[in-house]
């Protein structure tokens, strides 16, 4: 962990990160610092590299060049197993399309994240139930994803992301597949999480979401950081 000029802990540090897919450059020398407890929104036009940036930080993909250091770990140097353990311990991911396992109940979807680390089923389910109660979906714990609404599915996905108490919560278009009411609920949830100290990085096209949940905005264009702005909390 390092401390930056402003005195906060730097949780994420990207230095000159470049990512190429074949002949296409998705990220081109991105450098970025994110402090603990910060909520950062990454915005930009389609194809600017937002999701690729998130994949680099979450360890879903490796940079072609440059370094990604999260909580002092150089993500690019981790083995496949190391990356899996890194994602398990440090990262919580929320996807646009939820990515729940259709054959498992909502509760078991969430408990799964803890069970992969070796937690006994009963303990994992107890922790999952606590999260369900916090997120207000305890009555839907035994439902299967197919019968849940979009908002409920995303809350289950958020619960799963929080299951292993991650240092960093990453959200990729978390409201992109939701109607406005469900989107608002998820925004509130993310805001609440950040307010209790959860570091949050969210990728979005939605400026309203960015202003509502984030304290800093990173603009990407053509794989580069085109600007950074501090955001005032919106009403």
């Amino acid at each position: 962990m390092v401390t930056d000029d402003s005195g906060g802990e730097t949780v994420v540090r990207l230095d000159g990160v470049r990512k190429e897919y074949g002949g296409t450059t998705a990220l081109d020398g991105v450098s970025l610092r994110i402090r603990a407890g910060e909520a950062v929104a990454v915005m930009g036009p389609s194809g600017c590299g937002k999701s690729t940036l998130l994949n680099m930080i979450s360890g879903l993909d490796r940079p072609t060049d440059g370094t990604v250091v999260v909580h002092g770990e150089d993500v690019g140097k981790l083995s496949e197993k190391g990356l899996a353990l890194y994602r398990r311990r440090r990262i919580g991911m929320i996807f646009q399309f939820f990515n729940l396992v259709d054959d498992l109940t909502a509760l078991d979807n969430v408990a799964l994240a803890a069970q992969l680390t070796g937690s006994p089923a009963r303990q994992a389910r107890r922790r999952a139930l606590e999260l369900f109660e916090e997120l207000g979906i305890a009555d839907r714990r035994n439902a299967y994803p197919a019968v849940l609404s979009g908002g409920e599915r995303q809350r289950v996905a958020v619960a799963r992301a929080l299951m292993n108490r991650p240092a960093l919560l990453l959200a990729d278009e978390p409201t992109g597949a939701l109607d406005s009411r469900a989107g608002e609920q998820v925004m509130d949830l993310l805001l609440d999480l950040n307010q209790i100290g959860q570091t949050l990085i969210l990728v979005t096209h939605d400026e309203h979401l960015a202003r509502r949940c984030a304290s800093r905005l990173v603009l990407l264009a053509d794989g580069r950081v085109a600007g950074e702005h501090t955001l005032e909390p919106s009403a």
């Binding site: 996807f95 399309f97 396992v101 259709d102």
Partner: protein, 768 residues
């Protein structure tokens, strides 16, 4: 339909792995089907085919030339309504001493025949030429003999000298040798031979009735002997029938496994393409065009696979069939067996038809699906399956990767069911083949109680060289050679049993191991004079049982003996007693061979060399492996490996398809921290469950198949298998067999599981 071909071609290109799997599975399956059906076909009717090819005679009849003229026989044949007739041919019985030559000895039948062809009994003249002039002879020999005696001369006891000018073969054994008709007068013929083919030759009674019609207007007692082809068929077909039982079992398994796997692969290919189907529909493809795209996409690799598989099957089957039908009895059939055209037609047309039929079922679902529903396949959440089971598994103490994997097969019950069926049949095949091989190995080892057989008498340059030393001296010398442990002498003599005209072979044994590796199936071994053991076939042929008494006669000598035991032996003429009983029946007879058991570590070849040096009249032969046992074990192994590979390919295909279907889930699981090892464990477990269930069902099925086939195989060669040979299912073996299902499943699943473990999460989730 112009848009169909480019769309199908693009689909084939895009799904390279799936195309490869379809191609590989259809190739292997078609190859297995060609081998299996070819074996079934060849094993079921080799005699009939070979017999029809040479227009074999349904009845071979011998007439008394003193009572009926050739003209009368010709006229009777024309009148009778026989389908075809050949003859009359003069026939002589000649007794040629064993030391006269090595080509034609004993009681032989010589027939005067103008040529090898004709409407009945076409002789295959496979070396030299026909005997056109007096002084020439053609010998009846199987084509796998060498023809190096062409030009040699045979002196008959009457003084007549015949030069061997050709080798011919016909399976009906109407003669041991043929000469020109003009030669026959010198051989003093005793019968006139007629060969008949009848329209209805279905049974002995029909053949007797047909023959009665032929002889109805001939003088009484003109017909002196006759033999129908059904007797010959029974005799020749015994070995082939023994093979047929297990080959049919393998054939059936091969066809079912192949069809199951092809159906699984092809229907899976269509189901996994639902999203693509939706896109095509959205583009304006009609439902018919969509079905056509998918059928084309599946048919291209399938047809190529079927064509190549047929070729591979033919290449594999031909040498195998030749091997199967080689030997003293079935050997005469080996040239006539091969892959029948209908087998190739079934493979070339049937397998693509199975593929198309398998593709049509899911394709018709795609046909009915709306574009929107098809497009959302794989992305929209679907109602889960086997949910109760998943929930129960989630609560167990099993590692989560294992419990998740254990539930996966139940999420796709149709696909898992087809895969399971293939694994069940794969395990049943392995079980059946293991039982078969164990019994055959033990059967092959039954004759292994001695290492070297030393024959008394050696053929050299067409002459038999007798041993210089006497029996007792030879026995002592063989015992004295380094390495010798036990020596058993064996002699045999042709005899008769009272009340029967069929000769029997009475075998006397003397020495340390008089059982010579024979296996007793009932009763006990003979302990003293007057006791014999007989083969199962002997007892059946003569209607005898253990405990019965009989009189064995040789010339004017008679010995009363009691059958005290039944041995597992295919020779239906064999009766075994002790040396005093043997010499009482045939006082002048000497051993024909000495069977030597060596000490552990002694070199059989070295012993054989030393034995040869003892006496120029000795011919030592090292006891080799049993070729028919090796054939059965070898062929069973080949077929088992083929079927296990096909079953494993089925598992492979299922895992590939499941991985493709669950790409999103796998990406998500990895995103929340599932390690590559856990992904591999989960995927392999999902198929391991099918492997375990497959073992639980397949092992009993294989044992049932063994219980069904093995007695029939033994029965076909007139033997009864003792429990020591059939008691093959021990706990250790059953455990290993139970693991075979797991092995098939794990082998099939491992590679795609590794692929799934290496899946790039970002790519998998990016597909959204």
């Amino acid at each position: 339909m112009r848009a169909v071909w480019p769309a199908a071609r693009a689909a084939v290109r895009r799904r390279r792995l799936q195309t490869l799997v379809i191609w590989l599975v259809t190739l292997t399956s078609t190859g297995a089907i060609v081998v299996a059906l070819g074996l079934v076909d060849s094993a079921s009717a080799p005699f009939d085919r070979a017999f029809a090819k040479e227009h074999g005679p349904h009845v071979v009849a011998a007439f008394d030339p003193a009572k009926v003229s050739d003209a009368q026989l010709r006229q009777a044949a024309r009148r009778s309504g026989a389908e075809a007739a050949a003859g009359p041919f003069a026939q002589a019985a000649v007794d040629i001493p064993a030391d006269a030559n090595r080509e034609l000895t004993g009681a032989v039948t010589i027939v005067g025949r103008p040529g090898p062809g004709g409407p009945v009994d076409r002789v295959d003249l496979w070396a030299g030429r026909w005997a056109d002039r007096p002084g020439e002879v053609v010998l009846n020999r199987q084509p796998d003999w060498s023809a190096d005696a062409l030009g040699k001369r045979i002196r008959l006891p009457s003084g007549t000298v015949l030069t061997i000018v050709g080798y011919g073969y016909e399976m009906s054994r109407t003669a041991d040798a043929w000469v020109a008709p003009a030669q026959m007068a010198a051989l003093r013929p005793t019968a006139t031979q007629m060969l008949f083919r009848f329209t209805d030759a279905s049974s002995q009674s029909r053949l007797r009735a047909e023959l009665s019609t032929v002889t109805s207007e001939l003088p009484k007692d003109a017909l002196t002997a006759s033999q129908t082809y059904l007797t010959l068929k029974e005799q020749i077909g015994a070995t082939a029938r023994a093979y047929a039982q297990y080959l049919m079992a393998f054939g059936f398994l091969g066809v079912v496994v192949a069809v199951l796997i092809v159906a699984n692969v092809v229907s899976g290919a269509v189901i996994s393409g639902f999203r693509h189907i939706g896109i095509l529909k959205a583009l304006g493809f009609t439902p018919g065009q969509v079905v056509a795209v998918y059928l084309t996409m599946v048919s291209v690799p399938a047809v190529v696979g079927c064509a190549l598989g047929t070729l591979v099957g033919n290449v594999l089957a031909r040498p195998f069939l030749r091997f199967v039908f080689t030997g003293p009895d079935a050997g005469m059939l080996h040239r006539s067996v091969g892959i029948a055209p209908w087998v190739n037609a079934v493979a070339l047309l049937g397998m693509p038809a199975v593929c198309v039929a398998a593709a049509l079922v899911p394709a018709s679902r795609a046909h009915r699906l709306s574009a929107a529903r098809a497009i959302s396949a794989g992305t929209a959440p679907r109602a889960g399956r086997a949910l109760g089971l998943q929930r129960a598994l989630a609560g167990t103490r099993l590692p989560r990767s294992v419990s998740l994997g254990a539930g996966l097969p139940f999420a796709r019950p149709g696909r898992s069911g087809l895969t399971l069926a293939a694994v069940v049949l794969g395990v049943a095949t392995v079980t059946f083949a293991t039982g078969l091989a164990t019994t055959m190995t033990r059967f092959g080892e039954t004759g292994d109680d001695y290492d070297v057989t030393v024959y008394a008498g050696r053929v050299s340059h067409g002459r038999i060289v007798e041993p210089e030393h006497g029996d007792r001296r030879l026995d002592a010398m063989l015992r004295a050679l380094p390495g010798a442990s036990k020596v058993t002498a064996r002699g045999d003599v042709e005899a008769l049993i009272a009340g029967s005209v069929q000769p029997v072979m009475f075998e006397g044994r003397r020495g340390d191991l008089p059982r010579l590796g024979d296996v007793l199936t009932e009763g006990r071994w003979n302990h003293g004079s007057g006791e014999v053991v007989a083969s199962s076939a002997f007892l059946r042929r003569h209607g005898l049982r253990v405990g019965d008494r009989l009189v064995v006669a040789k010339g004017d000598r008679r010995e009363r003996v009691t059958v005290v035991g039944e041995t597992m032996e295919t020779d239906g003429r064999l009766l075994v007693g002790d040396w005093p009983t043997f010499t009482a029946l045939a006082p002048g007879e000497k051993p024909i061979s000495y069977h030597v058991k060596l000490r552990d570590g002694a070199d059989p070849a070295g012993y054989a060399r030393a034995a040869r040096a003892l006496d120029p009249g000795l011919d030592p032969v090292v006891n080799g492996p049993n070729s028919s046992v090796e054939t059965i074990i070898g062929s069973a192994t080949l077929l088992t490996v083929m079927l296990a590979v096909v079953a494993a390919l089925g598992v492979f295909n299922t895992v590939v398809l499941n991985t493709r279907d669950r790409r999103r889930d796998l990406g998500m699981l990895k995103s929340i921290g599932m390690t590559p090892r856990q992904v591999t464990v989960m995927t392999v477990t999902s198929m391991g469950v099918l492997g375990v269930i497959g073992s639980l069902l397949g092992v009993p099925l294989g044992i049932a198949g063994y219980d069904l086939v093995m007695p029939r195989m033994a029965n076909a060669v007139d033997i009864v298998l003792p429990s020591s040979l059939t008691d093959v299912w021990r706990a250790g073996v059953l455990t290993l067999l139970a693991l075979s299902g797991l092995a098939i499943a794990v082998l099939g699943a491992y590679l795609p599981a590794r692929g799934a473990a290496r899946l790039t999460v970002a790519e998998a989730l990016h597909n959204e």
